[in-house]
């Protein structure tokens, strides 16, 4: 009886020792993984800092402005191009619009129509309507501002 118990205990001991070593090695492997991941995080964080610096370097206002002048047909917003929602009446929506393709000739076409309500495509009807309602020139797109930009792009 005593011998059987002893054998059981010895076997249990061996099994436990095996399990402990197993766990220990696993833990060590995990430790190494943590260390290497930590190192990786550090490198990533550093390259993130570099990338953020580069991102803001590329987003410098002067650079964006230069690129916009070169590639976009946009000019600084004129005060008369800004309206509030309150100043837009129902009448602005119910009035018949002249359908004009939203391409390059649009400003010229709209300008040619004088005081008629000009629609510059679906994107900004409110702005276009408002600019005709105001005493300012009726061009929804400041044609005078577009031309020099085009010239510099070519």
């Amino acid at each position: 009886m005593l011998r059987f118990v002893n054998i059981c205990l010895v076997l249990g001991l061996v099994a436990l020792a095996y399990v402990i070593y197993q766990v220990k090695y696993e833990a060590r492997a995990l430790d190494e993984e943590i260390a290497s991941l930590g190192k990786e995080i550090d490198t990533e964080r550093d390259s993130l800092a570099v990338l953020r610096a580069e991102w803001s370097l590329l987003n410098r206002p002067e650079r964006i402005e230069r690129l916009a002048e070169k590639y976009l047909r946009l000019a600084p917003i004129q005060p008369r191009q800004l309206v509030t929602l309150d100043s837009v009446t129902d009448r602005d929506f119910t009035r018949p619009r002249v359908e004009v393709a939203a391409t390059a000739p649009a400003p010229a076409a709209a300008a040619g129509q004088g005081n008629k309500p000009a629609a510059k495509g679906p994107a900004a009807p409110a702005i276009a309507e408002a600019s005709t309602a105001m005493p300012a020139p009726a061009t929804p797109w400041p044609a005078a501002n577009v031309t020099p930009v085009q010239a510099s792009a070519q």
């Binding site: 402990i20 260390a35 964080r45 800092a49 953020r52 803001s56 987003n59 410098r60 002067e62 005060p79």
Partner: protein, 564 residues
Amino acid sequence: MRETAKPDAATARAERAYLARCRYRFRLTCLTFALAFVLIGGRLATLGFAGDEPTSGSLHDISSTVHRPDILDRAGRLLATDIKGATLYADPAKVIDVDELVEQVRSVLPDLNSAELRERLKGGRRFVRIRRELTPKQQEEIHELGLPGLGFIEEYRRVYPMGATASHVVGVVDVDSRGLSGIEKFIDDNPQLAMSHPETVSGDEAVTISLDLGVQHVLREELSSAISTFHAKAAAGLVIDVHSGEVVGLVSLPDFDPNHREQALDKDRLNRLGFGVYEMGSVFKVFTLAGVLDSGLANMRSVYDATSPIHYASFTIEDFHGQHRPLSVPEVFIYSSNIGAAKMALQMGVDRHRAFLKKLGLLDRVPTEIGETAAPIIPRNWQKLNTMTIAFGHGLSVTPMQLATAALPLVNGGFAVQPTFLPRSREEGMASAPRVIKATTSAALLKLMRLNVLKGTGKRANAEGYRVGGKTGTADKVVGRHYSNTAVLTSFLSAFPTDAPEYLVLVMLDEPQRVAASSNQATAGTNAAPTAGKIIERIGPILGVAPRREDDQRKFDAKVLASY
């Protein structure tokens, strides 16, 4: 039996005693062994649980540079950050041939001072720093030389992606990443600043300041185009929120690129707004009029006789835009009458005039996060003549920052808001500000400033829809010991929109010339005012100030004109 039994009993007793002794020894041995096993087991357990201490490379620990918080503008755009860079060092004890090492390193870094390096390598120290901030390419090339005794450590390097755009506010750091000027220095003095801010996306600490990068860019661009158009020596511009006191834009040209910190030492590139002291000229009349209106000595209909120049001692005070007739208060302002302003100041009296300027803060330095402004130059013996000349901006030299700070109560309803470079809400700004002038005085001043843009010297500043109001100032500069006829300092102090002011804009040009673009004149109305107008037209949308449609604006202007 008895004979034999006796000794038997004796032996048995002895045997029992012997056995008892043995058992005792046996137990002691067992206990000792058990104790030893427990000890060994315990030690094993502690060793097992302790795990491996990470063996850190001892060389990398040399890096002791601090990691500075990022600096962000009010919209979270990056103004300053740290990136890692390699530093090359040598350990002379491991170097085999000093001359060869110097030659080889010089093949990668040609601008190295070889004589000095040789000297330092022979100096007997264990750590000789050769070059900081290596590029990755240089680092690789040096690594490929394969020379013993050379090593790299990683250090943080401060970079300013926006370059010169916000240089005067952000400031610079020295080679050891310690703040030398601007907000950089302020962060070092107030480390809790970085802690109290919400962490950024990357998990780094950051400090947010009140500047707006867009406004900075517009200011810088318009001012540099003003310098080239009017052939000015220098220019400066300032945009302050009139309620919160936040400085949203500060540019002083010529400026410097903080990535090249040696430029910051150039005296010509100093921040003229905070550290340049000038006689500002006619813009000072806003304070004279504010004083005389606030003290109740005059109202908008009061009349001052500007028919003939004032002669006092050996001095004569004349008008530049002379009308040679009695002028009402609004007329004194829009014709910028020196005679009228001098008479107003005299009406207040020397002491009351000085006390009023003191109350506005024109006689004291302005403390800001980027350093206290330079001290104003106050006449040592303030007499009647000083009062008369200071009324139109001569005889008292102040920094433009001080002028703008003193002008804040004139346009925000009467509260002396302190300017700040850190974000602050309008409620906070107004809460801590004492009232220094009456609300009615402020309203009257705004009307006068608007009137001056509609009818007076500031016409060219009228940015469409933004209801700009302002006062021009053209001051003759002191060259040597006399006022010059040709060198002037022009400025334009403005607020917009005048019906509910939000921002104060100050533009200053140093020695603009008479060019065709300014109608061959060098007055502020022809150079500083149009520059301010262009700036306001562009920063209005950035700062969220809604332009008014023309009919609304006419209604407001009609009221202004009616008061005239």
